[in-house]
Amino acid sequence: MRSNHWLLGGIVATGVAFSGAAHAQQGYALKLEQTTPDARHDPDGVWDDEDLAFIRKTGQVPAIYTARITTPAGEWLLSQTNGDCNMQGMCTALLILKKQGREAVTMANPQLPLGGTAMLSLNYKKLVTKEIDQDGHAVDGVYEVAPIP
């Protein structure tokens, strides 16, 4: 009987710890990192060669930043270049969902600092960002995650 109590206690403690961890996790973090410096071709095929060539034409060295996670819903790729940034340095990024045997779909198009982080909600419905608005102040961005035609 005594050993059963220990076992039960262990199960309860594990359950509490697990639910605590899930509660603490607000979503899936997508932290952009430079993966293709001096880019002439995007290995993921999100950006065309012409997109990258145009960046070079403006006097910058094109670079691709990516973040990816695999979830039960599929593989999520966040991809960004240094070629479409506003004056506050918020650069267009594309959130792509890849499912095996299906065509990749663009699910959101946030603007983020180069190398920034976006948080995909646990139910895959929202993408939350930290951005800087036109007057230089911090803004929490929220984007609906659904196919963009």
């Binding site: 950006w47 012409e50 004056m87 340095g89 663009t106 198009n109 230089g136 102040h137 911090a138 035609p149």
Partner: protein, 221 residues
């Protein structure tokens, strides 16, 4: 007999509580307008802005800053000057010097902005975004004819592939289409409308805006 501490003429001049409140409100308004009004077209021209773009540039600075503005730090990033170029890479792309030198040099800020706008216009042209010029856009009950300045202003939302403006074009100017709003829920259409009608020929090399200057030419009578 009631003896007044102040002479009757002074009590007549003494403002009522309502007047004091109104004056305080006016003072706050004045301070706020100095703090957030950005730069005037005249001050921008004095800093080297081509006169044809000065009104538009002034409109942009109204929502950004003044020559000596520095934003609060956001995750270690600060933004500088009348156009709030941030040091997350954009400032470095358009200004090779120090941040202090940039802040102290209005003409450097104007030069950086002109180069930035030229890049945006080239990008918009490359992707066909400029084909929207001349079309009508309506959003929240307000309509405008999209002009070149609309496109430049809306490039705040990204001017590249997959950006909000690109998606709007792909969606046939449907302001409710997916992928056309920023993270705060603001539609790119709002910027197309608020940016419409300015002369931006210093960037685009043609003028479809409205000039307030008298038309040139001679009058033969």
């Amino acid at each position: 007999m009631i003896i007044s501490a102040s002479p009757p003429i002074l009590s007549w001049l003494r403002p009522g509580m309502r007047d004091v409140g109104a004056n305080i409100g006016l003072a706050f308004g004045l301070i706020a307008s100095f703090a957030f009004a950005g730069q005037s077209a005249v001050s921008l021209i004095a800093a080297g802005m081509p006169a044809d773009c000065a009104e538009y540039a002034s409109n942009v600075t109204a929502s950004e800053g003044s020559f000596n503005s520095t934003s609060p730090s956001v995750n270690g990033v600060r933004c500088y000057g009348a156009f709030q170029f941030c040091d997350s890479g954009t400032l470095q792309s358009y200004w090779p010097g120090t941040k202090d030198d940039f802040l102290a040099d209005p003409s450097a800020q104007v030069d950086a902005w002109l180069k930035y706008e030229n890049d945006q216009w080239a990008q918009a042209n490359r992707l066909g975004l400029t084909s929207m010029v001349g079309q009508q856009v309506c959003y929240n009950g307000t309509c405008a004819i999209i002009s070149q300045s609309s496109i430049l202003k809306a490039c705040q939302f990204g001017c590249g592939k997959g950006g909000k403006l690109y998606n709007l074009m792909q969606a046939g100017l449907d302001c409710n289409a997916r992928g056309t709003k920023d993270g705060a829920g603001t539609s790119v259409c709002a910027y197309l409308i608020s940016g419409a009608g300015y002369n931006v020929s210093c960037v685009t090399r043609s003028n479809d805006g409205i000039d307030c200057l008298p038309a040139g030419g001679t009058k033969n009578e």
